[in-house]
Amino acid sequence: MSRYESVLDLIGDTPLLDVSSLSPNRRVQILAKLEGNNPGGSVKDRAAKGMIEEAEKDGSLRPGQVILESSSGNTGAALAMIARVKGYPIKIVLPENVSPERRQLLEVWGAEIINSPGEEGSNGAMRRAQKLAEEHPDWWFTYQYGNPANPKAHYEGTGPEIWRDCPEVTHFVAGLGTAGTLMGVGRFLKERNPQVQVWAVEPPVGEMVDGLKNLDEGFVPPVFSDGGGYELLDRKKIVGPKESIEWTRKLADVGVFAGISSGAAMAGAAKCAAEIDEGVIVVVIADGGWKYLSTNAWTGDLDEVTERARKVIYF
């Protein structure tokens, strides 16, 4: 079907593209799930739609109520698009050091942006939003890090789509942020085939984001800890900005214009392919490259671009 009543019906059912020519092991196939094809431009459309519609259903979100969330961009943009369509006012707590396009996109959808200090990163934005939510109990706080509707959207959408299109999958690789994608898809795939391995990819915590007084101020998303993430994951790899950008460029070699966190996920998929003997990897390409053009990730000198990337939040 290619005729739709609402843009929200365009969310999900994204294509799976064979990018095995980038695999370092010819016995390992790599398939990329192109989430940039969602109407809001990222995988976060799924969680945003799931969280909003779940809250509408259980009555915690009422017509005209203010939606509040902290986001480094993609969740904010997805929520703001849906809020605009459905007529909710929305406020997004955004770290100052996101790429300018992420900010512009929120403005496109009419979100009110509340800045949080760049050196506190997403962690600081989340704390600020939690405080605002306490001060304004009349606002509806989405809280993507702890909202069960986030992984549920992937358990009911992304996971079944992957299983439908690639039942031979042996490894699932995705970036770890709220853990919604990994938990939802990982759980679904393991229920179908317990042999499926789930690998997470994380960016390093930058020095500048490291503004904690002590480790007790750290944070593990409840979506991950309460959802049994430690048991569900099989591996977790850290991928730095240089490698992320290198793999973002390699994705462009096969015509995939992806964001920098997708380069990180692809680097993780390549590490996985190199370590296993044979298999079929499905990797999530979380968003397109549009919001990162200002970083010159594709065309600039690799070391200069990497240095710049250390100062912006791209995950």
């Binding site: 934005a125 490291d210 480790l215 099989d234 991928v239």
Partner: protein
């Protein structure tokens, strides 16, 4: 000797050093050597039962040790161990 990278939040315990050296054949042994050299690090990285602090991620090269044997993960001489706080979202 392995290189251990220490995040800002723990550097008071290492006299401000961002990287220190410690030896051991497993991550646990490297930790033992580390907290012997820098005793004030111990209560920050390990809980009372000797398990990892829940907000501390430890990477052996690029692998989170929680999924490769935790403190029993084998360490080679050329390996780098990176201590990293667990926080919401990342930034490079």
């Amino acid at each position: 000797m392995s290189v251990v990278r220490v995040p800002t939040v723990l550097r008071a315990a290492t006299g401000g050093q961002a990287t220190v050296k410690a030896s051991g054949a497993t991550v646990g042994e490297v930790f033992d050597d580390l907290v012997e050299q820098y005793p004030s690090l111990r209560p920050q990285v390990l809980d009372d039962d000797g398990a990892l602090h829940r907000h501390l991620n430890v990477f052996l090269n690029d692998d989170d040790i929680r999924y490769i044997g935790r403190l029993d993960a084998k360490v080679g001489d050329e390996d780098t161990i990176t201590l990293m706080p667990a926080v919401a979202g990342g930034a490079a």
